[in-house]
Symmetry: C3
Subunit: 400 residues, 3 copies
């Protein structure tokens, strides 16, 4: 029993290593070491240092944005403040600064001519065709008032005439946008804010070189960065992206985990599209007359929509990718052998000789020969005294 | 010095390769080559071609959505246009089309009976119990008006009676939703829009087969796709997801990077839940009487909420995953040896013979023997003239 | 032809395995097996069981959130219901509960003194300096009314005085927030809702221990969890994150894929910042006088903004990471050899002997010698009868 255990241990506690053939050849040695050097350089330089493959990444950023706009403008002789020109008012990450309003006041439910005055109808069919193509707002049925010669619609009257010329509010370029962004990388449980707490941010103004961490952005700075035509923008509206990019290497101090701002024109992919440019939407303010009748003021507003888009990646050392990459690296170094074997065994003048050294052949005939008991056999096999077969180790004594 | 360097170089510039045993056996050869073939097929076919493991993926999509709804409906004899039935109006990715409104007009702050007329109280305790269970809107204190026999509440009066039957607006199924979606994959810096700029999109209508890239969606098409009961939806409201999926293989032309639309019923996971179905919310319009008293009109609106959800993955060739997978593949091919060794050394009739060939044993006794200087020793060891020990290469001369 | 094919097959269907050197040494065996054990334990225990490296992850969660708040409060003697204190009303994932309102009623466009009564001006320059620093709302031009001694502004008059003391609405802590969240993991096409459909959720209340799956949250529970000063919060406003975390192991039953709620103070990163704390925004309600003049009531509202942030990861078994990790594991076990070789060949007393056994040297001289035909050469090489050179296998017959 004890002896069986002992012999079993003996057979397990053996060490197995590959038998190697060493070729003392300068040219081959140079190729071999060069191949190894290139592979090591690639892994150390590119995989580990440049691509930081020893780190695990978290792109699943949790973000919360609040914004606050400040400034005053004058539109159609009325002073506009934040409550007038910001939509929606609650300081979301996506908000619009209204630059131009086409108002259609005192609209009541009823029947009235559609807005396009120049069109004269003679039958209902005329109106159906005409209104179908212009898609006038307020229309539900288009009938021809044959006496007056216009198409009559049912809905909020008078109908909106959005062809009217309105001077936009020019002061919007001076408005400032304050952005508060707090983020968290759930994988690493790291929480960050978009500005340094110790600095006084009340008086600063963002500038990508002078003050890249100030969270207060002047509208014209953003418009300049995105190379917008300000006049066109005020007239037609537009969509601007304020991109906050967090690229954090958490192996360094967390204080280096800071945001990087950039600005983009969100409708850039539609630049060449055959559609009405700009950004506008309609809303209404509702009133009641003394006798309780509803009426409204319809606003078609042209606005610059700002979309704060937060994106981020945090990276930190992690054992699994490191181990996998180190092992891949070590294994890859061994790949140098594959290359050199090709040269050695196929391209070398002495290929034949190397093959003999590298390969030891066992053919069926040889085995059969050896298994047939012959007097004076060259090989006598003695099985090692191991009682378990886990290890394939066998002792061989050869008489030369 | 120079000679030491030279000999050191000699010892470094050696090439080391594994010594192999080659077995000329058809059955084993077939198993071996078959195992290699399966492994290579798996890597080439599944890992590289099917799963595209040579690419790196970016799922961290930046997206901006604006929407615009068009159409007219009639609710309670009034014509409704976008300004009336879209909430919020600014064209966000998440918006509601109002299909039914329960209005409670001329609400003033005061005390009044709660809405459920059928309930008769005799004490305050009755009311607290009753109101607690119905959670009537407008209630803050529920006292029993014993003379009239009803529970009295304090708040906006009269209280809302949301049991009233209102016919919903049926025209909403004809409304069209225009969706503008611009995305960016930050890792590859690729920006795309959801429609082809050169096509005229003003007149098209989305159809998954006929016109899969048109960004204008008719509401009833979406409802059909999600197999909704339109009558129920108009009555109770609902939540619909418009999913825009970007799957881009950036190794191909970027013009193949197009969106795929799908529609889902967002409240599907709650289908069997014991809770009030549908989607509704309340808001109020505020008015002032001539003498400056505030009053309001409470709206309980039933709406179809559309949620444009953008999701995406871009993939592009990258060196690191390619190298790791290629090396894994090459290493795996070597794994065929492990399988065949098991067969060769344990299942073969000639296992014993193969073991002798594969393994060369070195036991303590042998070492001790060889280290004791004996006259007429069979092995005489001569250390190679290398002056540095980095390489383990030694020259051996054996006299047979 | 046939014979050539046959011999080619013979040469392909050979099996090649590494020739090994087996060292029967207890100390080295122990080190070798221990190294292997540590490597296997690391892969089985850490990589596979703990880090679940056999799974692929989807962090690209699609989420849709709707919320509904219930409760009544009293602010400035008026009863407030949801339509009054929730902003925006449509039940978004980000919404604000208004706790305090500073109202500036009956504002008309005009000229009036700015709000800070204590400031006396004597020139326009005084006003420009003063108003620039206080940034009074409603200001566009600040001129000194020298007779009255105050700065005059143009805009909505009277100007807002936000220094006024208002008692906030204390009942907000009793409000309940009902959250409906449906998610989808696009990679695995798994859709889940945030509560169990079979349970009656109408009467439950969330508690992280007692009822962790109830989707109804009482405001004071959330505030307690984030350790907020409730009085301060009601006074100044604040930002609270309700984080819904989905961590799903889809190798288990999908019913175990449940949300985990946590609460955080979103302005925590700005705790030490030199800026006005809290959360507030301004909006206006617009009215018309009998003669059609516009006037408004400006609201500066202090609110608690709740942001429902949904984050998630689903994991499921996948062949590619499994194969890569298994192969890395198997390759790593072989790394034990590298360690032991170092000991064996450099630190062992019998290093010299082991080197002889492990390495078989082939030097240029030997090759040259063997290639020169000599009478009575010790080695005669006979090329195997294979007609194709794909396999490097050669048969060697050596006469000892």
């Amino acid at each position: 029993m004890n002896s069986a255990l002992c012999s079993c241990m003996t057979s397990i506690l053996t060490y197995e290593t590959y038998k190697s053939v060493v070729v003392r050849s300068w040219p081959l040695g140079i190729v071999y070491r060069l191949a190894q050097l290139i592979i090591i350089s690639y892994f150390v330089g590119y995989v580990f240092l440049y691509e930081k493959a020893y780190q695990v990444a978290d792109t699943n950023i949790e973000s919360s944005v609040t914004t606050k706009v400040k400034g005053f403008g004058k539109l159609d002789n009325a002073v506009m403040d934040v409550a007038d020109y910001i939509y929606p008012p609650q300081g979301e990450g996506a908000f619009s600064i209204i630059t131009k309003i086409i108002e259609t006041d005192n609209q009541f439910q009823g029947r009235c001519p559609e807005s396009e005055k120049e069109f004269n109808c003679s039958s209902n069919a005329d109106c159906i065709q005409h209104l179908g193509s212009v898609q006038a707002d307020g229309m539900i049925t288009g009938e021809c008032n044959t006496t007056a010669g216009y198409c009559e619609i049912e809905g909020w009257c008078p109908a909106e005439d959005d062809k009217v010329k309105i001077k936009p509010m020019p002061e919007f370029v001076n408005f400032t946008i304050y952005i508060k962004n707090s983020i968290r990388f759930p994988l690493f449980n790291v929480t960050r804010g978009n500005f340094n707490s110790t600095k006084d941010i009340k008086t600063c103004k963002y500038d990508k070189i002078e003050d890249p961490f100030c969270p207060i952005f002047q509208v014209d700075y953003i418009l300049n960065e995105t190379r917008q035509n300000v006049t066109m923008l005020a007239e037609k509206g537009g969509e601007i992206g304020i991109i906050i990019q967090w690229r954090c290497n958490l192996d360094h101090d967390v204080n280096f985990c800071v945001p990087k701002y950039s600005f983009s024109q969100l409708d850039a992919p539609f630049q060449n599209a055959k559609l009405s440019k700009g950004y506008n939407f309609r809303f209404a303010k509702y009133y009641k007359t003394e006798d309780g009748t509803d009426y409204r003021r319809l606003h078609k507003v042209f606005a610059i929509r700002f979309d704060v888009i937060v994106t981020g990646t945090a990276r930190k050392f992690s054992l699994i990718p490191t181990v996998i990459n180190v092992i891949t690296a070590v294994t890859s170094v061994g790949m140098g052998t594959v290359l050199c074997d090709l040269i050695l065994l196929h391209c070398s003048k002495r290929a034949q000789y190397y093959k003999e050294k590298k390969y030891e052949e066992v053919s069926e005939e040889q085995i059969n020969e050896s298994l047939t008991p012959k007097p004076g056999s060259q090989l006598s096999i003695r099985r090692g005294n191991s009682s378990c077969n886990d290890s394939g180790a066998v002792s061989i004594s050869t008489n030369f």
